[in-house]
């Protein structure tokens, strides 16, 4: 099995739980467990290769241009993490099934959990920096979604947002660090980066790279001063806290330290920053943990403290430090997961997590109490348990470090102090929860939890004991291979319960005795803490800065945005002018060199009319009818321009669109009487005039520049192949329905969407029907004059005949679906104007929506027809059947496509105008006139 399947199984498996929801909770949980177990098995399948010292890797290019590749590598370190993630994952799934309330159908929960698992496995397996980052951010996202699982509570949402802001922000810093690192090494492949340690450490960019990558690691692993998101993430369901926020995800930062150990460690800067931060976090976390009344809060700060310990060990930069760091990482994952599960059971059984209420649970649940007490003892570092061993190694490592200088005694002292605190909070956890008198006002009477809920805790506690008593036989081989992938070799080290009387043992003893003593003095300690400990924390600073940023954004928006569309348009226009003007003014030649074509008198006269009409539209915009006529005049001159410059198809289209536009605008004018004159400031007037003028001059310059440059067109191909390939002589039409028919298909789809949008906008719209026209005259009583309707009626068949003619000849002569649709629409609109919509609708029972749909279907079907015959979509076919009398006619499949275009255009026009016309249809005169025309 390829190692990619370790990631892919849970990734695809994330879809499984939501799909299984119908079959009940058990099936949902089983599906998640199955996927996780398979991933675990694939990992184990590669175990022989990994243990024999050869890495398993796979490589596939993804986006080579940016150096992103799907490179994966399963080495010792990755193997250790794969076992942790999938093994703990299995137990978490079992636990979550019992922990989450019965009415939760679990589909979303397990789906998200599988997504997280896949991302986390991706981090540890990735052998490409960018790929690693991708998975890194995915863990942040899935963690965000899981913290906010109970999204109806404010705490959950806030905690989720904070976690995302901190961890994803760190991820961004890490991305910058990775980009610099890749730049220095010349490759984003992790294996090449790891081999280039000397190069990187000697590079001037080493310090920025180090700081940026450490920002990513420290935010993820909740190191001081970014630690505060982790306690807030405790709003997540407890299985999530156990899995993501103690066993796996928060270890990603530490994993990163381990991964980049060969590249980045070994300098004094590394040691000062990493071990300094680690030591601070270790002491601070342990100290705060003592004062938390919430069980999960205590465990969260304890987790922060332990992560600090591991960070410190990696920060030392020594081989044995790395061994101890990895060892403690594994041990912490095991005992902390079991403690969180125990906390979840207590929460589940008592209904609260407040240690001031929860007391004396020993008498209610002695079995769970025993398990939790063993795990807590491991946390405190009691002999015969796994926590003791790695803590001894940690104490041993704190002694003798020359880089600390004269403060050599300080590090062991601080470490011992942290040990004292750790024992104190562990003792508090045991004593406060299980003894210390009777419970206070518990919401529920606690019992032992269901049998199966205890199994994961039992497994973890058994592991604590097993590793604690037989370290060499259990965890040693796994530790050896993972250390080897960090250091290249396995250093000499010995894990034993008894080393004889030595410094670390004395430190352990001081910590244990000191911790218990500290706990006995807790009343005084709590009072002192309340009195002296500073209230300000990273959390408050974070909340404050978030609020400040939000306020600043609001103020800025209020300043530049007055919610005026007019102002938006002006800004947009100004920006467009700036962007376009830059190249235009920087010494750019406007005249392109091609000789100008001669001017003639008719063109000049037409241009004159256009100028007058365009200016007239602007000046007379308040006399709306007049302005409309002026606009139409412009349109007619544009039509003539098309005629003059050899574009008969365009002229036909423009002319018919012009007619329909005018009718549309007249209909609209009926309801838009115009209000009182708007007072516009002089400045605004000149600003608009300036913007429009500059834009106009710029466009004119551009147009002139385009027209006077030599033409290099791709149209020669169309001209040459129009007849042989497209079977038509009208090249414009052949381009539309054949060469570029997929564009046309898109365009008629846009038309259909516009029509549907208009239909929706007009749905249910009621406008006051004005009784007077724009000049204040009453509307004429005779809405549909007899003569007009009589003349209009015979025009309809003629118009339709012309439309069909234009449609059919379109392939060879000016015409085609677009124009034919417009002409047919004009014929129908004429009937509506002359005789009324009701009258027309009674005789022509056509649903224009259906017509548009049929048109689109025909167009698509022609395309699919080619598909079925084995050609690309929309390939056209041509037939030349000889028909008696008429002779040879060309039947290109493109003609069928054109029929589709015709139907869509006709349907669109009619749908728009009919629905717009209906708005005024309610006016009383129309019905009376209809009856008159009925009689005739």
């Amino acid at each position: 099995m390829p190692i990619g399947s370790i990631i892919l199984l849970p990734l695809l498996g994330a879809l499984l739980p939501p799909l299984m929801v119908r079959h009940g909770r058990a099936v949902v949980a089983w599906s998640a467990a199955l996927v996780t177990a398979l991933a675990l098995l694939v990992g184990l399948w590669h175990a022989p290769a990994v243990f024999s010292g050869s890495d398993v890797s796979s490589h596939r290019e993804w986006i080579p241009m940016i150096g992103l590749a799907l490179s994966l590598r399963l080495d010792g370190l990755a193997f250790l993490f794969v076992m942790l993630i999938t093994g703990i994952g299995l137990l978490i799934i079992l636990y979550a099934y019992y922990y989450l309330p019965k009415d939760d159908r679990l589909g979303r929960f397990f789906g998200l959990l599988m997504l997280f698992q896949s991302a986390m496995l991706g981090i540890v397996l990735a052998d490409n920096l960018l790929l690693l980052l991708l998975f890194w951010e995915l863990t942040s996202l899935s963690s965000f979604l899981l913290i906010a699982y109970k999204s109806n509570t404010r705490v959950a949402r806030q905690g989720a947002r904070m976690a995302l802001a901190i961890t994803a922000g760190g991820g961004l810093a890490m991305l910058a660090g990775f980009l610099l690192l890749g730049h220095v090494v010349g490759s984003f492949e992790l294996s090449e980066v790891l081999a280039a340690g000397d190069l990187v450490r000697a590079d001037p960019l080493y310090l920025p790279i180090l700081i940026l990558i450490l920002l990513g690691a420290f935010t993820k692993s909740a190191q001081f001063p970014f630690h505060f998101w982790l306690p807030n993430a405790m709003a997540a369901p407890t299985p999530v806290s156990a899995y993501l926020h103690s066993a796996t995800m928060v270890k990603a930062g530490v994993f990163l330290l381990a991964r980049f150990f060969p590249v980045l460690s070994g300098t004094e800067t590394w040691s000062y920053i990493v071990s300094g931060i680690g030591l601070t976090t270790l002491v601070l976390g342990a100290y705060i943990a003592i004062f938390k009344h919430d069980i999960k809060g205590l465990l969260a700060y304890s987790t922060i403290s332990h992560l600090g310990l591991i960070t410190f060990l990696f920060g030392l930069g020594t081989p044995l430090g790395a061994v101890a760091g990895l060892f403690h990482l594994v041990n912490h994952a095991v005992f902390k997961a079991s403690l969180f599960m125990a906390a979840g059971i207590i929460d589940h059984e008592t209904g609260t997590r407040d240690m001031r209420q929860i007391n004396g649970l020993w008498s209610f649940m002695p079995y769970t109490a025993t398990l939790a007490m063993v795990a807590a003892a491991a946390m405190a570092g009691v002999p015969l348990l796994n926590g003791f061993l790695s803590k001894e190694m940690f104490f041993a490592e704190t002694i003798y470090h020359s880089w600390v200088g004269p403060l050599e005694w300080l590090v062991p002292a601080v470490a011992t102090l942290a040990g004292v605190f750790a024992v104190a909070y562990s003792v508090r956890f045991i004593h406060d929860v299980f003894f210390n008198g009777k419970p206070v006002d518990l919401p529920r009477t606690p019992h032992e939890p269901p049998r199966w809920m205890k199994i994961p805790v039992e497994v973890f506690v058994a592991l604590c004991l097993l590793v604690g008593i037989f370290p060499e036989q259990t965890v040693r081989p796994l530790l050896d291979i993972s250390v080897a992938s960090l250091l290249g070799t396995t250093p000499e080290y010995h894990i034993a319960i008894w080393h004889g009387f030595s410094m670390p043992l004395y430190m352990s003893m001081i910590a244990t005795v000191g911790g218990i003593l500290l706990y006995t003095q807790r009343q005084r300690l709590f009072a002192a803490h309340d009195r002296w400990f500073p209230r300000t924390s990273g959390e408050a600073a974070f909340q404050y800065s978030v609020k400040r940023i939000r306020d600043l954004a609001n103020r800025l928006i209020a300043k530049i945005d007055n919610e005026s569309l007019q102002r938006y348009v002006a800004w947009l226009l100004g920006a467009a002018i700036l962007v376009t003007a830059a190249p235009l003014v920087s010494g750019w030649q406007i005249f392109g060199g091609v000789a100008l074509s001669p001017l003639d008198g008719v063109s000049l006269a037409a241009a004159f009319i256009l100028v007058v009409a365009a200016l007239g539209t602007v000046i007379a915009r308040r006399q709306r009818l007049f302005a409309l006529i002026m606009t139409s005049l412009v349109g007619l001159i544009v039509t003539l321009t098309f005629v003059h410059f050899s574009a008969p198809d365009l002229a036909l289209t423009q002319l018919s669109v012009e007619l329909i536009t005018t009718v549309l605008m007249l209909l609209a004018l009926f309801f838009l009487p115009g209000g009182p004159r708007q007072e516009v400031s002089r400045w605004r007037h000149w600003r608009d005039l300036g913007l429009a003028g500059i834009a106009g001059i710029g466009t004119a310059m551009l147009a002139f520049a385009v027209m006077t440059r030599p033409s290099i067109s791709i149209s020669d191909y169309f001209l040459a192949t129009s007849k042989p390939l497209g079977g038509g002589q009208n090249v414009v039409n052949v381009i539309l329905v054949d060469f570029r028919s997929i564009d046309t298909l898109g365009e008629i789809t846009v038309l259909a969407i516009a029509a549907a949008g208009i239909f929706a906008l007009l749905w249910g719209l009621r406008l006051a029907v004005p009784t007077h026209d724009l000049e204040g005259r009453r509307w004429a009583q005779d809405v549909h004059p007899l003569i007009m309707s009589m003349i209009a009626r015979p025009l309809l068949p003629l118009a339709l005949l012309v439309a069909v003619f234009i449609l059919l000849r379109g392939h060879n002569l000016p015409g085609g679906g677009f124009i034919a649709g417009l002409v047919a629409a004009i014929g129908l609109i004429l009937q509506q104007i002359a005789s009324g919509i009701e009258w027309t609708q009674k005789r022509l029972r056509i649903s224009y929506l259906a017509m548009i749909g049929v048109g689109l279907l025909i167009a698509v079907a022609t395309g699919i027809g080619a598909f079925v015959l084995g050609y690309p979509f929309l390939t056209s076919a041509t037939l030349h059947p000889e028909v008696a009398v008429i002779g040879e006619i060309e039947l290109a499949s493109a003609v069928a496509f054109d029929v589709g275009v015709f139907l869509v255009v006709l349907g669109t026009m009619m749908l728009i105008l009919e629905n717009l016309g209906r708005l005024s249809g309610a006016s009383p005169p129309s019905s009376s006139v209809e009856s008159v025309s009925e009689k005739t």
């Binding site: 609209a668 209000g675 255009v905």
Partner: protein
């Protein structure tokens, strides 16, 4: 001729944009119509100016460039659909807001 057409395009753009910057919806619609003409002419002109050379295989060569023509043809029709949409939007805005101002202002003044 090129200079004349370029000037006309520029004039139409200026008139269209000035109208689009007005506050009444009907002026904006007129402005869009003018801007639409200008855009189509510009696109059309990019195929250069040729007289009496329609792109019909039976009648040439030489031929005018058919590609910009095909593009402009659909642009005209879609331009109409857009104008219609804006007109209907203006009507709807009047129905909902009781105002013909693009920002929905001066409701009282309008009634």
């Amino acid at each position: 001729m090129e200079l004349l057409l370029a000037s006309i395009i520029g004039l139409l753009v200026a008139c269209g944009l000035y109208l689009i910057l007005r506050s009444r919806t009907f002026s904006v619609v007129l402005g869009l119509v003018l801007l639409g003409y200008a855009t189509n002419l510009f696109l059309f002109a990019s195929g250069r100016l040729a007289t009496n050379q329609p792109a019909l295989i039976g009648e040439g060569p030489p031929f005018a460039d058919p590609l910009p023509q095909a593009l402009v043809l659909t642009a005209i029709v879609i331009g109409f659909a857009m104008i219609a949409f804006v007109v209907v939007l203006a009507l709807r805005a009047r129905g909902e807001l009781g105002s013909e101002h693009v920002d929905g202002l001066d409701r009282e003044a309008d009634q």
